[in-house]
């Protein structure tokens, strides 16, 4: 048998390799199909303006965003499940994702979305941070995990209600359609500036979440035992809350709601790491990036006249896969 340490390194390498392949394919696939030769020669040898434009303005931002957003969702999902010790937790459990969606929808409604390029994602980020502040206020009073989950439900419901309110009052059907389509989630036509906005927030978020891996492992045996092993539960709580908000708020702000990746990916990975909630983190992040990249490739390959939305595809791929997994393992999932 391969020792767990080596096995983990193999898994990380394999997943990184897979992600690399997905990334390259993602650069080639689209309404204009490129072969690797055409891409390389168009970029470096005999400069082809069309290839240049497609690569720098469309494909690269899209592929990079797919990787970053997927990594955020997978990682945050794994951290949330580990911290809450609850297999139902997902990145949206604290209400951050709903907050981000709410912020973005408000910029649509107020017309700010068209005022300048990054207004929409910026609104999303601010919405996510607003909810974050409320969660931190709750958590400051040494809230239990259950209280945090319930508070998250309250915040999500509130944000959802505000989104409904905006839809209710929107001036015309086109505005409603804009909002609904945005909410379905997509990586289409996002400029590299979106990445410049999101990445400086995501990276510190990732770092905070990855730093929790040891504490999450200790938490397997409960909060008191973890605390007796030298971990400050207060510190972990803040790292998880702030880290997840920074990782996932900008992701949702840029892409719209993308469901299911954060919930399902940790479940797919957990059997590979024998349940270890610490080792789950990197792998879930990478697997989330793979799943999102693959979904985005599928979106571009299937042309049904109307572009399929990414959020729809992730759930369409994720849900049956998840069901298959549950069916196979039944009792052992948790």
């Amino acid at each position: 048998m391969i020792p767990p340490n080596k096995r983990y390194l193999y898994l990380i390498s394999a997943m990184t390799l897979l992600l690399g392949v997905c990334f390259v394919v993602s650069l080639l696939v689209g309404s204009v199909m490129l072969t690797p030769q055409r891409l390389l020669s168009g970029l470096f040898h005999e400069v082809d303006m069309m290839v240049q434009l497609v690569f720098w303005e469309i494909r690269l931002p899209r592929a990079l965003l797919g990787v970053c957003v997927g990594f955020s969702l997978g990682l945050t999902g794994a951290v949330m499940q580990g911290y809450m010790r609850n297999p139902l937790a997902d990145p949206g459990v604290l209400g951050i994702t709903s907050g981000a969606a709410m912020g973005a929808v408000i910029t649509f409604y107020t017309g700010l979305a068209n005022a300048f390029e990054l207004a929409l994602p910026l609104g999303g980020v601010l919405g996510g941070l607003l909810i974050l502040c409320m969660v931190v206020m709750m958590a400051g009073r040494s809230a239990s995990v259950q209280t945090l989950i319930l508070a998250g439900i309250a915040f999500s419901t509130l944000a959802g209600a505000i989104i409904s309110l905006v839809l209710n009052f929107s001036p015309n059907p086109h505005a409603v359609l804009d909002i609904v389509f945005w909410l379905l989630g997509s990586l289409k036509d996002r400029s590299i500036n979106n990445l410049y906005l999101a990445l400086p927030l995501m990276v510190p978020g990732w770092a905070m979440l990855l730093y929790c891996s040891r504490a999450l492992r200790a938490l397997t045996l409960g909060e008191d035992t973890a605390a007796s092993m030298g971990f400050s539960m207060k510190q972990v709580r803040y790292l998880v809350i702030v880290g997840s908000a920074l990782a996932v708020g900008p992701a949702i702000a840029v892409t719209g709601s993308i469901g299911f990746v954060g919930l399902v990916v940790p479940h797919l990975i957990r059997p590979l790491v024998a349940g270890d909630p610490g080792r789950l983190l990197w792998l879930s992040g990478l697997a989330g990036a793979v799943l999102l990249s693959v979904s985005d490739i599928v979106v571009r390959l299937i042309s049904l006249g109307q572009e399929l939305k990414l959020g729809v595809i992730t759930s369409l791929i994720g849900a049956p896969f998840f069901f298959f997994l549950l069916f196979k393992m039944r009792r052992e999932v948790v």
Partner: protein
């Protein structure tokens, strides 16, 4: 050497005065039984010694040093804790669970050294769980599970082991086996404080008993002195039957202590 000294400790939880000026100490090589009725403050006392709870007044000294002067990680190396709640939230293998015990000694982002693995193997052998190494913790029987969790606690090589009801729900064989293991560890120089409800077990295996009643130390001393009729009536509201064997006392709770009131008989501990 005195490894734990708790002096004049007062602890409040949610505005309730749980521990009232408690003085307790423990020495190396000693198994101290912490007993008392439900809600008498036993678990709170253990958590206060671990530094998991805010202390109102009084002090806790670990190995002669004030608890506050310890780094969290230093304290975690000195004291191991077996929680009352022994659920493992993810399907971890037994070996991984025992390896968790090495975490206080492990720097962030490093993996276990050969020495860590040796220690894990040794403690697994000590508590007879090496055959279970590849099994999933949650699928083990109660007795096996408690032994694995003891191995986890011992893997950090602590000087002090605090166990909150470690034998709850075990069959007699596994209760005795676990208590034997505690005795062995004390023999090897550890200080052990264990919360128990089985009066015969405490009288048989503990060097000293601390009897808590409503947050006060009602008695502290040899099992025979502590488990006398008056103390048991006062702390638990029970009468017990006593038997002797091999110089140790078997204490069997026999009847609730009831006293006469105007409305007839009433159990003394019921409001």
């Amino acid at each position: 050497m005195q490894t734990i000294t708790v002096s004049n400790l007062n602890v409040y939880r949610r505005q309730r005065h749980i521990l009232k000026c408690v003085n307790v100490s423990a020495h190396e090589g000693e198994v101290v039984g912490l007993i008392g009725a439900n809600g008498s403050g036993k678990s709170t006392l253990l958590k206060a010694i671990l530094g998991l709870l805010p202390v109102e007044s009084g002090k806790v000294e670990i190995m002669g040093k004030h608890q506050d002067t310890y780094q969290r990680s230093e304290l975690a190396k000195a004291i191991a804790y077996m929680d009352q709640d022994n659920e493992c939230n993810w399907p971890l293998q037994v070996r991984s669970v025992v390896e968790l015990g090495r975490m206080p000694h492990q720097a962030p982002f490093t993996s276990l050294t050969d020495e860590d693995h040796d220690i894990v193997n040794t403690v697994m052998k000590t508590v007879c769980v090496e055959a279970l190494a590849e099994r999933t913790l949650n699928l083990l029987s109660g007795g096996e599970k408690h032994r694995v969790l003891l191995a986890r606690a011992l893997a950090s090589q602590p000087a002090i082991l605090l166990a909150d009801e470690p034998v709850a729900g075990l069959d007699p064989y596994h209760q005795l086996h676990l208590m034997e293991l505690f005795r062995d560890q004390a023999q090897a120089g550890k200080t052990i404080i264990v919360i128990l409800h089985d009066l015969t077990l405490v009288s048989r295996y503990c060097d000293r008993l601390v009897l808590l009643s409503e947050g006060n130390v009602l008695a502290n001393g040899e099992p025979k002195e502590v488990l006398d009729t008056d103390n048991l009536r006062e702390a638990y509201g029970i009468h017990a039957q006593y038997f002797e064997n091999e110089g140790k006392q078997a204490v069997i709770p026999w009847s609730c202590h009831a006293h006469s009131t105007d409305n007839g008989w009433k159990f003394s501990r019921l409001p």
